[in-house]
């Protein structure tokens, strides 16, 4: 049974107003338990609007969103939904507000009404999951940490709720290369070791090609493609979509194919590109 089921979802901002904008238009999509789903699309294509439906922050104007078997439009069940789906917004470190790391990460569990022992266990557990040592960091004020560390603390705050589904909106934006790698490894580990279902929005096709099991592509509020990274790459016109640019190694392969070189454009990973060029160069030199 899918964890997330989106059926013919439509959503309009400011309906009836002069700036009315149809942000989502007939989107149908499902995410299986334990799956890593990537979402790509240009600025303004509806990515963030879509994921805000996953924990009931937004309710559909048309269609249905069913999370773990529950319809998100049933208001009485909203509390349960928030426990099941953890949403990490863009720049989540801007939401840190408590005086110490411990207090911030434990904010969720405290509001679940858990006992002090359980709160401590969950908080320390969440900090360990994001690769932080509770003993050394718990009592520090978040403000004195670097951007990458603050972001991990913010993610720990969501993990402390022990969500079944983790939804992340551009989790690596604005981070340096080391910070990016750390966050990406952490997300992949959560999927593989904890079997957490992951939905991740990213502008970096390269990140999603290496991490995601499936990728969904949005354009102007419509779902224009879904499938494995390879399937999506081969979908006709995918690369012509606004806001989508291939990683440079794939640009190279496609440009070479365009110049009449015999290369397999059906690849998605950098290592495959390396093998293709290796073969091509050997062929050229062998002649």
């Amino acid at each position: 049974m899918p964890v997330i089921e989106v059926k013919d979802l439509s959503y309009t901002y400011c309906p009836g107003a002069p700036y009315e904008k149809k942000a989502l238009d007939g989107v149908t999509l499902s995410v299986k338990r334990g799956e890593f789903m990537g979402i790509v699309g240009a600025n303004g294509s509806g990515k963030s609007t879509l994921i805000q439906h996953f924990n009931g922050l937004l309710c559909p104007d048309g269609g249905k969103v069913i999370i773990c078997g529950q319809d998100t439009s049933v208001k009485q069940r909203r509390d349960e939904l928030w426990k099941k789906v953890g949403l990490v917004f863009q720049y989540p470190e801007q939401q840190l507000f408590e005086a110490t790391v411990f207090e911030d990460v434990s904010y969720g569990p405290r509001n679940l009404g858990l006992g002090p022992r359980e709160i401590r266990i969950r908080t320390e557990d969440a900090l360990k999951k994001v690769g932080l040592e509770p003993e050394s960091i718990a009592d520090l004020p978040p403000i004195c940490l670097s951007g990458g560390l603050r972001r991990r603390v913010a993610i720990a705050g969501v993990l402390a709720m022990q969500p079944e589904v983790l939804v992340l909106d551009e989790p690596t934006a604005g981070l340096d290369p080391l910070g990016r790698d750390m966050i990406l490894n952490l997300i992949k580990k959560l999927q593989q070791e904890d079997r957490t279902t992951i939905v991740m929005v990213s502008h970096s096709l390269r990140e999603l090609l290496t991490l995601a099991d499936r990728i969904a592509v949005l354009e102007n509020g419509k779902l224009v493609a879904t499938g494995s990274p390879k399937e999506v790459l081969h979908q006709k016109d995918f690369l012509a979509l606004p806001g989508i640019i291939m990683p440079d190694y794939l640009q190279l392969i496609h440009a070479l194919a365009g110049r009449g070189k015999k290369v397999n454009t059906g690849i998605s990973a950098m290592a495959e590109a390396e093998l293709e060029i290796d073969r091509l160069l050997k062929e050229i030199c062998g002649k």
Binding site: N43, A173, G174, L252, R259
Partner: protein, 278 residues
Amino acid sequence: MAAGSIELINVTKEYATGRSHKKCALDNITLTINQGEFVGLVGMNGSGKSTLARLINGLILPTAGKVFVNGIDTADRKSIIEIRRHVGMVFQNPDNQIVSPIVEEDVAFGPENLGCYADEVKERIDWALQATGMDELRHHAPYLLSGGQKQKVAIAAALSMRPDYLILDEPTSMLDPGGKYDLIENLKMLNEKYGITVMLISHHMEDVVHADRLIVLDQGQIYLEGTPREVFSSENFFSAGFKPPGIVQLVSNLRKRGHMIDENIITVQQMVEYICRL
């Protein structure tokens, strides 16, 4: 202290982080940026990039050392307005610097405050909007534009001051790849066609492959400096945790496989031409 350049001489900047604690953001930096250059500035979070940018237009002053813009000391507060005219700044999030409800009004804000006559204001707006390709959207409301378009409005507003130097602090981090590509192309054009000196701060090496010079900051010091190719091929670059653009990695891996590929290749275009010439 020649005119037509930005000079930092033994600049140190410390921030107080508590009653008795100090954090050294920049540590004795000496650097010259010449007019007409396209300089890329990269470094990890907390390496001092933004501090460096803010020192150049006098938003902050050095704890020790001097910063000169076209020969004017930024510590000379009487000249600060002139310095700001020379140095335009564009920040990461355009929402933080757009002030007007209409695009062209936002672009007019600078020249109007310089006391320019209406004709001159109009001429400057026309030029700035045309140079950034935002002419068609001049009557739009900025908040209804995409992130990339808003970033171009912020650049147009900086350009309307007719600056010699344009400093951009991670302007691409909120953009999709299409918007990013557009923005970089636009900066290259401004640099080549109008001779505007560009200093581009970014975490993404792909953004700065076309720079004339690349400066890598680490813990407040200049860690590496040179052409992008020189920097990307340096052992120290790897060991500090940086990754060169995919093409550079690909070339390096292929060389390890025994292919004698030209080490100077850093862009897709160069690689395509190289292979097609074989």
